[in-house]
Amino acid sequence: MSFSNDILTLMLFLAACAGLVGFMLAFSAILGPKKQSAIKDEPFECGIANVTPYSGNFSVKFYLIALLFLLFDIEIAFLFPWATIFKSLGLFGFIEMFVFLAVVVSGLVYAWKKGALEWD
């Protein structure tokens, strides 16, 4: 029985969410002032008038940097919980974490040697 109760609560919550969103959208559409102009239809970019239409490519280097950032990000995400229970893990946890770090660093060495850190 608790299962159907849970589902009921969930459904009510969903209905409430949908109702609220629908309410806000509907009323702003009905009540809001509508003044169209060419300037208003332009994409907003820090208040500066657009010089050229945007259609550029991002250099793939940005993605490489983002990936390398992830490497360290994940490393930190694992190091924090390890640090908090460091004492109870003992020597085993210490060695294990260094094995993990070695694996992560080997990924960095690979990227480095492959030239992922060079901007040109």
Partner: protein, 484 residues
């Protein structure tokens, strides 16, 4: 923490260490030592076979907080996957050379993919199964697109990535629902929970939906109808050796994990999934085989053929008796031999740009290159299931498993589907031997690939004529799934 046992995951540690070694050494050694990566990978896979055989086998004991088992079933597949790795390494050495592909990355990813498959079969926890599946999937997404300058390879990789992510998400959602219902992701705890709720009048909807989603997720991975549409495009565009790998190894890993979940976690008297899978099995066999009839691209044809073979394997799962599950393991080996053999030959013949893969390209090579056309014929007749080959024995036991369970309609439809398939397998043979060649072509057979082809063909006949040993090994491996 006392159940941490590194000997329980020895083959996986070996694969991972060799994978990291190959990956990191690659950029240091540079392009002039290409064959070194292959040698190292070969060493890794060979050591992993030894490691898998050294793993102390025990059905009851679990390691790593109940996540890892070392039962005979897991060891069977760990040896099989490492052997597939050896075959893949030998079979693709020359291909990588010919297409100037990044050797070290290729072999590192192959080693990681194998480790992922191993984790799928040894896991007794839904989360570890999922992580293994992701290790396998992410490695194979990259492998499918490793020909970066080839549009078809890119298309294949991106399609595989999207469909794979989609199915992973469905699977993970199923895991979440199961966790919500059973409050655990460990197989033991879920089985206990399932047994408890099975006594009640109704099985909770949450539990059933969760299991449905997990089964759907795996059905995507092993490409059975109605979740097969991605397979032909992905298989056609991927580099030819990788097509072989996808159609054999990752499919078998999916089936192995699915078998463990269906037989070790689901309560045995929960019949809902059986009817669904029976329908799926019939549709998979027929849609796979009928679609293969009209294909003119060999890789695409074998993609549909591999869909059909997934249907045959499903028969063993729905029959759920000793003959059926034993036959699945036997068939996994037979299918690996004949498909990898066929794909190795197709790789050799695929030419400088991996494009000579249409039926037209096979015209008249029969007597031009008998050392390739005869082995290919052997692999194809084994896929078709003609007696004296391993493919026949596997199909025979799969179908008789259905007969044992009085699923006569399923068995009859399966036999008819297998008959249909003979047409398109033999059509390749007809093209090879009964047409005039279009002209001379340069085909060089690397000794490593030659050895692979020879061994595959010999083993197809060996297991076809003397199946007792392999059947006995398979039977030992599945004993834990059989209930008195």
């Amino acid at each position: 923490m006392s159940d941490i046992s590194f000997s329980a995951i020895l083959p996986e540690l070996i694969l991972c260490i060799f994978g990291i070694l190959v990956m990191v050494l690659g950029p240091f050694l540079g392009r002039n030592s290409r064959s070194f990566g292959g040698t190292l990978a070969l060493l890794g896979f060979a050591t992993s076979i030894v490691g898998a055989l050294l793993v102390p086998e025990s059905a009851g004991k679990l390691f790593f907080n109940g996540m890892v088992t070392t039962d005979a079933f897991s060891i069977f597949f760990r040896v099989l996957f490492a052997a597939i790795g050896v075959v893949m390494t030998l079979g693709s050495l020359n291909y990588l050379h010919r297409l100037k592909l990044p050797t070290f990355e290729y072999f590192a990813l192959l080693l990681f993919a194998s480790a992922g498959m191993n984790f799928m079969v040894l896991s007794t926890d839904l989360l570890l199964t999922f992580i293994g599946l992701e290790i396998l999937s992410i490695a194979t997404y990259v492998l499918a697109g490793i020909r970066r300058d080839d549009a078809a390879s890119n298309e294949s990789a991106i399609k595989y990535f999207f469909m794979g992510s989609f199915s992973s998400a469905i699977l993970l959602y199923g895991v979440a629902l199961i966790y919500g219902s059973a409050h655990s992701t460990s197989y033991q705890a879920i089985l206990k929970h399932a047994a408890a709720v099975n006594g009640q009048q109704q099985i909770p909807l949450l539990f059933l939906i969760g299991f449905g989603l997990i089964i759907v997720g795996f059905c995507f991975k092993v490409a059975v109808v109605p979740f097969q549409v991605w397979a032909p495009d992905v298989y056609e565009g991927a580099p030819t050796p990788i097509t072989g790998f996808l159609s054999v190894a990752s499919k078998m890993a999916g089936f192995a994990a699915l078998i463990r979940i269906l037989f070790q976690v689901l309560p045995h008297d929960l019949p809902q999934w059986v009817q669904l899978l029976v329908v799926s099995s019939i549709l998979t066999m027929w849609i796979g085989n009928l679609s293969a009839l009209t294909q003119t691209n060999i890789k695409r044809m074998l993609a549909y053929s591999s869909i059909a073979h997934a249907g045959y394997i499903l028969i063993g799962i729905v029959a759920a008796n000793q003959t059926g599950i034993t036959a699945i393991l036997y068939y996994a080996v037979a299918y690996a031999l004949m498909n990898l053999g066929a794909f190795t030959i197709i790789t050799i013949l695929s030419g400088r740009d991996d494009r000579r893969v249409t039926l037209e390209d096979y015209k008249g090579i029969g007597f031009q290159y008998p050392q390739l056309s005869f082995p290919l014929t052997i692999c194809l007749i084994s896929l078709a299931g003609i007696p004296t080959t391993a493919g026949f024995i596997g199909k025979f036991f799969l179908f008789s498993a259905a007969v044992e369970e009085k699923m006569y309609l399923l068995a009859v439809l399966a036999v008819l589907a297998a008959l249909v398939s003979v047409y398109y397998y033999l059509r390749v043979v007809v093209y090879m031997f009964m047409f005039e060649p279009d002209g001379k072509r340069e085909v060089r057979i690397h000794p490593a690939a030659g050895v692979v082809v020879l061994v595959c063909c010999l083993l197809i006949f060996w297991f076809g004529l003397f199946p007792t040993w392999l059947l006995e090994v398979s039977r030992q491996a599945v004993i834990l799934f059989l209930h008195p």
